[in-house]
Subunit: 206 residues, 2 copies
Amino acid sequence: MRPMIVLEEKGFSGYGNKQISFSDKGHKSEDIMKLNPRGQVPTFKHKDVVLNESKGICQYLESQFKKQGTQLIPDDPDKQALVLQRMYETDNIFDKAARNIFYYTRSTKKENIDEEHLQKKRQDLATELEYWEKYLTGDYLVGESFTMADVYLFTNLCFLVRGSLSLDSRPNLKRYYEKLSQRPSVQASWPPHYKESSPTQMFALV
Amino acid sequence: MRPMIVLEEKGFSGYGNKQISFSDKGHKSEDIMKLNPRGQVPTFKHKDVVLNESKGICQYLESQFKKQGTQLIPDDPDKQALVLQRMYETDNIFDKAARNIFYYTRSTKKENIDEEHLQKKRQDLATELEYWEKYLTGDYLVGESFTMADVYLFTNLCFLVRGSLSLDSRPNLKRYYEKLSQRPSVQASWPPHYKESSPTQMFALV
């Protein structure tokens, strides 16, 4: 979703994306394996360039099309540093949500789930979200405009909300999530199944 | 170690780094907490800019001092894309080494270690290293010169070799590791305790 939002922000609507399905093993299809021998997503092709790491794709697009559409990494050193700081700092959310909760519950048999361990991990994620609640004093993470830091944070939030995280006790995150959800680049990149099927309860107790 | 190598490559020798000790809880000291409320390393300060994410620091230094010292991210789109691809692709090594083996063995009591699980994780890491052995056909990961991709790969290799990974059956990685170990920026950034105390056997069976 991150590279897709960046493509939209750079004005590349209708760039010819191809949605694949994990359950149909689309990521292991011949077409993908030719471009990405690891059989993973995303896979990105621009002329002869192939890039298969979402952070690399975002950085490449910003570098190659810096002045086209929305500039996502500011030139001003102070702002640039804060955008970079927040971008990579979102890895903390991913680790605490995806690795510690999503992968754990998915890879552990229901009867073997250590509820005490899981509760501790939920608390870690809740504590992590307090940082972001505090950071979000304005409409965007850094300054007065949408940056790469928002691309990184918003996509992490999507994953959490999809897993039934409640933002009701997190007013800044809630306002932010609702505002950015309406952004055209986000609307154009929204995974179709996020609209259709019902979410899991993975993060309901966080 | 990554930001330190980049600082050296950019000609900032003697930039006033301060080594702290985890065992003395230096990362929770007042000085650090003031700059980095998470109490983590690295912490980086440049004028009023504070950055606490190693990838962010590397990207900031390259962006602000692009033409100073070694240019670490090439302008040429094809080379740039490959550098970015390999940079972020090294996260696979980190995940398979640090998360799956180092953290697991460190956080599990010796009598509770699942040797079969651990053996599978060692195999995953060995398979991961095969990719890199194949990538390394020349002196550097991308093209004929040292890039940010080498900063990322080499520091991952250091961690593995420090944990007694043998490179004997991996001739390209061995040659690469030995050559880059001699690079002045690396020599200047080598953690002192890497030279002094004996390494663990964490990756000896990989």
